[in-house]
């Protein structure tokens, strides 16, 4: 029963995505909507990303120092470990899990409300491909802007650690900055960005899917929003394992 339901949902999702990735009715309208979505889903997320990243970067640095207090460990390893944690997991997987809550619920509730208030029916009646009109700009905008958020996250997390070195005497600033630059592997940046693109696609498409097929009223919109966040979080974790195996091994 569970398998057949999952397969049927997956089939429905594939048809939904096929409809979303058709050619837009008007490119001008598509570009305008995509820019609006960049602002709504991407730019509006920057303050949240900055706040979370600064604090997590700071906490990572403190934790690293406290848990690796060993005379055999060089002091710069705190900076090195903080940088690698941020590059490998925090700026993509953890950030996207957080954004699944903010952006995912926003998308699902917006499209779900449009469904229950017959706005999607109105689009269909006019002859507009509602999936393409509503969903494609969100996917393109969020996937396109995700690397920017990811880079913001990397920068501000490292800044968070840097602030710890300035305002505490746990580690010297010079050792932290040396650690940040030591044994740098460029591929880690690309690996993080590739993961963030995949996760952004998961968040935007899964949330849109749950919102689009809402039936009922306000209660069901809330439920769809929750389901969207839960499902996209699970998929992010699953693809995190797969991508790590594929890209890092």
């Amino acid at each position: 029963m569970l398998i057949t339901t999952s397969l049927s949902q997956f089939g429905k999702y594939c048809l939904f995505i096929a409809k979303a990735f058709s050619i837009p009715d008007k490119w001008k309208v598509f570009s305008r909507r995509t820019l609006q979505e960049v602002t709504k889903l991407g730019v509006d997320s920057i303050p949240l990303v900055i706040v979370i990243s600064v604090f997590i970067g700071a906490v990572c640095t403190i934790q690293m120092k406290l848990n690796t207090s060993n005379p055999l460990m060089p002091a710069y390893s705190v900076g090195l470990a903080t940088r690698d944690i941020v590059l490998l997991e925090f700026s993509n997987s953890i950030l996207c899990l957080i954004l699944a809550g903010k952006v995912g619920s926003n998308i699902a509730s917006e499209i779900g409300t449009m469904r229950v208030t017959e706005q999607i029916d109105a689009l269909e009646i006019m002859g507009v491909n509602s999936v393409n009109y509503l969903v494609l700009p969100k996917i393109v905008a969020f996937v396109g802007f995700m690397p920017v958020l990811s880079v913001f996250c990397i920068g501000t997390s490292i800044l968070g650690g840097y602030l710890v070195t300035i305002f505490t005497d746990l580690i010297s600033t010079a050792r932290y900055t040396y650690g940040i630059q030591a044994f740098f592997n460029e591929w880690y940046v690309w690996y993080g960005l590739i993961k963030s693109l995949v996760f952004a696609y998961i968040i935007a498409s899964v949330a849109s899917f749950f919102g689009y097929y809402v039936k009922g009223g306000a209660l069901q919109v809330g439920k769809a929003s929750t389901n969207a966040v839960v499902s996209s979080s699970i998929l992010i974790l699953l693809f995190d394992v797969i991508l790590t195996k594929v890209l890092l091994q």
């Binding site: 008007k26 309208v29 706005q119």
Partner: protein, 258 residues
């Protein structure tokens, strides 16, 4: 003209429409009436293609809607305007943005031309001055009028209205009815209105189709509806306390005269 022939639709094994046939005339306000749950919304949604019937034919001026390919359906939909029960205005757009939406999507008009057309439609529904407001900032009656303006923006040949008076006070209901009636005659539109409001029936019922338990039980106009012998329709017409009182009054006056 829209013709519906032997339309049948079921949901989860329960038949909602049983071989319904009806004709909706051009330049007339065609009303589908019936109690809640009688199948009138399903009938309207089938005609516009939001629901796919199992059997039957839907002919838009002779063109079989159910046999059209995706391209043809898309083209036909540009000839359709629809007013939804809850107005279905786009929350993120202003009143002017809502009316301009179909023009932006389906015409090659310049922005100036689109603005002129949208303003003309808003004037037609007496809504000049509300252009910059958002749907949440205007009343239910105004929202209906914006929805009508949006529906007529592309000069549709067919106009569908799902319970246009729901949630409105009697005076605003009459205004909306009159507006729909005037627009229908002015532009020669085939208008189909789904309603259970007897005020609308008496005011603008030029061609009335009564649906009861998924069957088409009666066809007529506002003049003939009071003299019908159809029991279900009689029950529907005289369901309100006001009409019951009027009926009793007329019967008692008749008896006195005898």
């Amino acid at each position: 003209m829209i013709e519906v022939k032997n339309l049948t639709k079921s949901f989860d094994g329960k038949t909602i429409l049983h071989n319904v046939s009806a004709t909706f005339y051009t330049g007339k306000t065609n009303l589908i009436i019936g109690q809640s749950g009688s199948g009138k919304t399903v009938l309207m949604k089938s005609i516009v293609g939001l629901v796919t019937p199992e059997e039957g034919e839907i002919l838009y001026d002779g063109r079989d809607f159910l046999k059209m390919d995706t391209r043809q359906v898309k083209d036909l939909r540009k000839e359709i305007g629809m007013l939804f029960q809850g107005s279905a205005l786009f929350d993120s757009e202003t009143v002017l943005g809502n009316v301009m939406f179909p023009l932006t999507m389906f015409t090659t008009m310049t922005r100036g031309e689109m603005l002129d057309r949208a303003r003309f439609c808003l004037e037609r529904v007496n809504l000049q001055g509300a252009e910059k407001k958002f749907p949440s900032e205007i009343s239910g009656g105004m929202q209906k009028r914006v929805a009508i303006a949006r529906a007529i923006a592309l000069n549709p040949k067919y106009l569908f209205c799902d319970e246009p008076n729901s949630g409105l006070d009697p005076r605003t209901s009459i205004l909306i009815d009159e507006l729909l009636h005037d627009i229908t005659h002015e532009y020669g539109i085939t208008t189909i209105i789904n309603t259970h409001d007897m005020n609308s029936v008496l005011g603008i019922g030029e061609n009335i189709i009564f649906i009861n338990k998924g069957h088409r039980e009666w066809v007529g106009d506002k003049e003939r509806i009071f003299t019908t012998t159809n029991e279900a329709l009689n029950d529907f017409v005289f369901a309100t306390r006001l009409f019951q009182k009027v009926k009793h009054y007329i019967i008692s006056e008749d008896n006195k005269n005898k």
